[in-house]
């Protein structure tokens, strides 16, 4: 499907990315790059369902589950992340199915869906805080340092290894994105996002299609959380879970552009660089200022650049966007009771 030129561009870009840490070794910049890659993967995971009008604010919950399950299994049971990560992913996937099934089966869309998922991420945060005897609560949690095999414990000290792992995971995300982009599911989901009833009438199993993409998205987000945990070796409920993280995902994906594979990555680059610049600019003395400016910029962005930076640049995507948003509004109106 991909043109030869585009394939070559991807190959060259990828080769450059792989070669980068061997040429340029500044640890701080590598650290930022690793963070960008991990978060890009998380944002890409979100946009897998976000691009089909399934706006979830519950992904902070999935990410938190991935991170905490992996860390808890390692600390309390001594299970390697190689076992813990899949278990964390399955747990997040199960939660996605439990919440997703009634939502999709009973046509909970638009504002309703957003609020339900928003509550989901809030509840996950509450649970992590409530089980403070095991998870450390709001104070955060650190996986125990491993004594033996680094590969078994998935704990590496050098940034280059982590850079390559993050690159691999990110690439996996992009590949899955393209796989979905070229699958039959994409057409079904696009039909659903434009008109659910019409899609159902045309023989699309609306509930099953939505559940599939939600499951995929949740699994990948949990993986992102687990990788983030293994890299940072310190997680708090606020950094991997909750409403703030969910909003951060949506914002980055919207800023970058939802409908291109590199859009969320682009969004991650912009938002993380912005946050990091603000953090350094304000220093450690002024706690909170960076977030204040970040929030103001976020609001300004949405008011004045509602189509995202990449979206505004790529003019050709405009009609597609308009159609989906107009229909989203319609779906919301249909689903509202009592009016």
């Amino acid at each position: 499907m991909m043109g030869r030129g585009r394939l070559a561009a991807w190959a060259v870009g990828l080769a450059a990315l792989v070669a980068l840490p061997f040429v340029y070794r500044d640890p701080y910049h590598l650290h930022i790059l690793v963070l960008i890659l991990i978060w890009s993967f998380a944002y890409t995971s979100w946009s897998m369902m976000g691009r089909f009008g399934l706006v979830s604010l519950g992904h902070g919950g999935f990410m938190g589950i991935g991170a905490y399950v992996t860390a808890l299994l390692w600390n309390h049971l001594g299970w390697s992340p190689w076992i813990g990560i899949p278990i964390g992913m399955v747990a997040a996937g199960a939660l996605a199915l439990i919440v997703g099934y009634p939502c999709f089966r009973f046509r909970i869309t638009g504002h309703y869906f957003v609020l339900v998922t928003l509550a989901l991420s809030g509840i996950v945060l509450q649970v992590i805080t409530a089980t403070r005897d095991y998870t450390g609560g709001s104070l955060g949690y650190t996986p125990n340092r491993a004594a033996g095999n680094k590969l078994w414990s998935l704990q590496f000290d050098d940034k280059i290894t982590w850079y390559l792992i993050a690159l691999g995971v990110w690439l996996f995300g992009i590949v899955v994105w393209h796989w979905v982009d070229r699958s039959m599911a994409r057409y079904a989901l696009e039909a659903i996002s434009e008109d659910e009833d019409a899609a159902a009438a045309a023989g699309v199993d609306v509930t099953a299609e939505k559940l599939k993409i939600t499951l995929l998205s949740a699994l990948m987000t949990a993986l992102a959380g687990a990788i983030y945990c293994q890299y940072q070796m310190f997680i708090t409920p606020d950094t991997v879970s909750g409403i703030a993280v969910s909003l951060q995902m949506v914002f980055a994906a919207i800023v970058g552009g939802l409908f291109v594979s590199l859009g969320p990555t682009f969004g991650a680059v912009i938002t993380i660089m912005l946050a990091e610049t603000l953090r350094i600019g304000f220093g450690t003395k002024a706690v909170g200022w960076d977030n204040l400016v970040y929030g103001v910029l976020l609001v300004l962005f949405i008011i004045f650049l509602p189509k995202g930076i990449l979206g505004s640049l790529l003019d050709r995507l405009k009609p597609q966007r308009k159609v989906s948003s107009a229909h989203e509004q319609e779906v919301v109106q249909i689903a509202r009771p009592g009016t």
Partner: protein, 293 residues
């Protein structure tokens, strides 16, 4: 054995009544959010953060400026009402024609702004009003006077809003707009003005809730997160924009939280409420009072 049951029943009754008292404040919060959703068709994700700002306002007015509680309360309500109107004027109004997701995200940005503003301005310490209200003993049961006051004030607040909506011209216009957005503009109603008034009322309700919650809980920049999600669940369960549904749902949730808290930690009450919510979605997906389609 008989004695055990006696004690158990007393505690149960106490929890049930405490749940009803908690339900008053939750219903107030749900009413404000529902009002804004029903009229303007926007969900303020930062609603609980407005309450947080109101709680800080109460704290500073009472603690630093030594104003009495009952004088500080109207000031706080007014302040948060102005804040609500400003939020609409500055953030929502430019986005009225934007896709719903952008409106949601913009209020999400405001959530960041308010939280970090509170962190910058007030620090992350837990603060409380320092007012100790007496405990009301009724038989063997103890009720905090603060909860009783909150419940009554919340009820009064809701009755006032109800009277405003049904007895005044502006209130009637607000209800009319929530029924048909397009037509009302053609009927000569100034929608911009109505939206602004609605936002101010929504903010005022958040302010009232803040005055009541500050009696029971400590203030800190992230306090909104502890009752924001539950308010959203209440609104969805009641049916977004459905005032009566939200009212009933608030009490149902408050009972679950209160009874859950009786047997375990309060946080688990929230988890139980969420589980209940998921189950309810299977039974009544479009809200408690909605007819099934």
């Amino acid at each position: 054995m008989q004695a055990f049951f006696d004690i158990f029943d007393i505690y149960l009754l106490e929890a049930v009544i405490n749940g009803i008292l908690l339900g008053g404040v939750l219903a107030l919060l749900a009413l404000g959010l529902n009002l804004i959703f029903g009229v303007i068709d926007v969900t303020w994700i930062c609603y609980a953060e407005l309450v947080m700002i109101g709680m800080y306002a109460m704290y500073f007015l009472v603690q630093y400026y030594g104003i009495s509680y009952f004088l500080a309360a109207p000031l706080t309500i007014l302040l948060v009402a102005v804040l609500g109107a400003a939020l609409h004027y500055l953030v929502i109004a430019p986005l009225l024609t934007a896709p719903p997701i952008n409106q949601l995200l913009a209020t999400g940005g405001v959530l960041f702004v308010l939280q970090s503003f509170a962190t910058v301005a007030f620090g992350i310490d837990f603060r409380n009003l320092g007012i100790r209200l007496p405990v009301l003993a009724f038989g063997d049961m103890n009720f905090s006077y603060a909860r009783l006051l909150s419940f009554l004030a919340a009820l009064v607040g809701m009755v006032v809003v109800y009277l405003f909506m049904t007895r005044t011209f502006t209130g009637t216009a607000i209800r009319a707009i929530s029924q048909d957005r397009q037509i009302m503009a053609l009927m000569g109603v100034d929608t911009k003005r109505i939206y602004l008034i609605t936002s101010a009322i929504g903010g005022g309700l958040a302010g009232l809730a803040a005055c009541l919650l500050v009696l029971q809980y400590d203030v800190h920049p992230f306090v909104g997160l502890s009752f924001g999600p539950i308010t959203f669940l209440i609104c969805v369960l009641g049916g977004l924009g459905n005032f009566i549904g939200g009212f009933i749902a608030a009490f149902v949730f408050a009972e679950i939280i209160s009874l859950g808290g009786l047997f375990s930690d309060l946080e688990w009450g929230y988890v139980l409420a969420f589980a209940f919510f998921i189950v309810m979605m299977f039974i009544r997906p479009a809200g408690l009072l909605a007819r099934r389609r």
